[in-house]
């Protein structure tokens, strides 16, 4: 059956409806709770095993030793000296990252944390090289 202007009723209905789109930068976009966003880093948990560096499909992560290392804990009398726990930094290149969160999965100590940040665009490329300490 041929019916000219078949959408007419739908179109008129929409005259009295709220738009489905939103003025994005002024209105916050809604994000699902488990969205894979920027990866955050918790230096106190990292053991520097480099698993994430090897797993990363886009070579976005570097785990260098921190420049400032914490001092070794004070030696307790009668016990052998405890070596200082090494501290690691994380350099996350957000322009390389594909947000697959594979690093979060392989991390044995849960030092990498998935966040829901998604507004990461920047005009300066240097800003995309995040250095977490």
């Amino acid at each position: 059956m041929i019916h000219p202007a078949r959408v007419f009723r739908e179109v008129i209905k929409h005259l009295f409806r709220k738009p489905a789109t939103c003025a994005y930068p002024f209105e916050k976009a809604k994000i699902m709770p488990d969205f894979r966003g920027r990866i955050d880093f918790d230096s106190s948990k990292c053991i520097g095993c480099q698993m994430c560096v090897r797993a990363c499909p886009s070579k976005a992560i570097e785990i260098p030793l921190s420049k400032v290392q914490p001092p070794a804990p004070a030696q307790i009398e009668g016990q052998p000296p405890v070596p200082a726990k090494k501290k690691f930094d994380c350099i996350m290149k957000l322009d390389h990252c594909v947000y697959c969160a594979q690093c979060v999965e392989v991390c044995p100590k849960k030092a990498l944390i998935m966040t829901q940040d998604f507004e990461l665009a920047h005009v300066d490329r240097k800003e995309l090289r995040r250095h977490y300490t």
């Binding site: 059956m1 041929i2 019916h3 000219p4 202007a5 078949r6 959408v7 739908e10 179109v11 489905a20 789109t21 699902m32 488990d34 969205f35 894979r36 797993a55 990363c56 499909p57 886009s58 594909v98 947000y99 697959c100 969160a101 594979q102 999965e105």
Partner: protein, 397 residues
């Protein structure tokens, strides 16, 4: 009337990806068309050889933005076949669910693009608004709208909770209603019928001769669907119809896709209501034993074929992707000839092209008469030198 040649692409509003069609026009009618490929070659097959199987998963996902799940599932089936891994039933069901959700989102996207190409912007806006529902489902289940990354070696990465299941079912119910409306719209609206009927004819025998796949083939009356012919994942246990149409034109392709949407909704409900219990993944070793595997998969656009050769290391020796658009492009030139210029965007869009999936490079030196094999670094160097000769220096960037 004198003939003029019009280039459609590589940059053109009708094409979302760079590809070139040279059209010879006589007035408004097309007397000849050639398809030129290769503007979007990204060297992914080569890159895959330099990465581990796990890293390749995320690379292969990016072969195509819309059928990202199709490519990874096809690839991962090969890997699991070679590793002789027993993928749990629940993981297979979840993969099937994602395959169908992806089909829904791809077909709704196509419906919008078709509306846009024929200048029916209202249809475009409405379908894309409703497509947000299925994208929300995918984001809720996997954590991203387009690159779901749900597959992992030996299973899937995320399980489905009861809450998520209810959320998906609710959205699917809404989409089912809307799709019924779009079907009635597509089969009744006068201008839409005028633009789609008898446009881009691809008769049954030509479709077979040119190797058309997917909805393009099914709209020409070819009952071919990998899901039925060679059931993979859990498609063997699902109840669905194979949709064909016999008008052989753009209208047929529209109807096939719309009815496939209804079948997909049915399948999604079946999968969610009978989700098998159990683990969602098994461990797969990093090294894959030497061997070869080929698998096919019914992507939203048609049959997708992956070939994988392993050599007992943690990196594949060779990976070959045959994307459905490559199979369908042969038919496009046939469909355009004798048609109107105004129909060209619609005819191209009707195969639901995905050019970046398709572009491949073959290095063949006719003087030496043999194929040359380049490494990743060599190809990169060649590329930089090529652009240097043209006056662009990429090393400074």
């Amino acid at each position: 009337m004198s003939k003029i040649t019009i280039p459609l692409g590589p940059q053109h509003p009708a094409l979302k990806e760079p590809e070139n069609f040279m059209l010879v026009l006589e007035g408004e009618q097309i007397t000849g068309a050639t398809v030129n490929l290769g503007y979007n070659h990204r060297g992914m097959e080569k890159a895959a050889e330099e990465r581990t199987y796990m890293q390749d998963l995320y690379l292969i996902e990016r072969v195509c933005g819309i059928c990202s799940h199709s490519h990874t599932t096809c690839y991962i089936t090969n890997v699991e076949e070679l590793a002789k891994a027993e993928t749990p039933k629940r993981a297979l069901a979840i993969r099937t669910l994602f395959g169908e959700l992806e089909r829904v989102h791809s077909h709704l996207l196509w419906l919008g693009v078709a509306g846009y190409e024929m200048g029916f912007e209202t249809l475009f806006m409405y379908t894309w608004r409703d497509r947000e529902q299925v994208l929300d489902c995918l984001e809720m289940l996997s954590g991203n709208r387009v690159h779901y990354s749900i597959n992992t070696l030996g299973g899937v990465r995320r399980d489905i909770t009861a809450e998520q299941k209810a959320g998906v079912l609710k959205r699917i119910k809404y989409l089912e209603e809307r799709t019924k409306y779009y079907i009635s719209l597509a089969t009744e609206e006068t201008t839409l019928l005028a633009r789609t009927q008898n446009v881009g004819k691809l008769p049954y025998d030509v479709a077979i001769e040119r190797g058309a796949v997917g909805p393009t083939a099914r709209a020409s009356g070819i009952a071919r669907d990998v899901r039925k012919d060679d059931p993979y994942l859990i498609y063997g246990e699902l109840d669905f119809k194979l949709i064909t149409h016999n008008t052989c034109d753009v209208f047929g392709r529209l109807v096939v896709r719309a009815l496939e949407l209804m079948e997909s909704y049915k399948m999604i409900e079946q999968i969610l209501n009978n989700l098998p219990e159990g683990p969602i993944a098994v461990k797969v070793p990093w090294r894959i034993p030497a061997g070869e595997a080929v698998n096919h998969y019914e992507a939203p656009r048609g049959e997708d074929i992956h070939y994988l050769k392993a050599n007992n290391t943690d990196k594949p020796e060779r990976l070959k992707v045959r994307a459905p658009t490559l199979a369908n492009l042969q038919s496009v030139a046939y469909m355009m000839e004798g048609g109107w210029l105004a129909d060209v965007p619609l005819v191209i869009a009707a195969i639901d092209p995905c050019m970046s999936c398709t572009d491949r490079a073959v290095v063949w030196n006719p003087k030496k008469g043999k194929k040359e094999i380049y490494g990743w670094e060599e190809l990169r160097k060649m590329g930089i030198e090529h652009y240097k000769r043209r006056g662009v220096d990429f090393t400074k960037l």
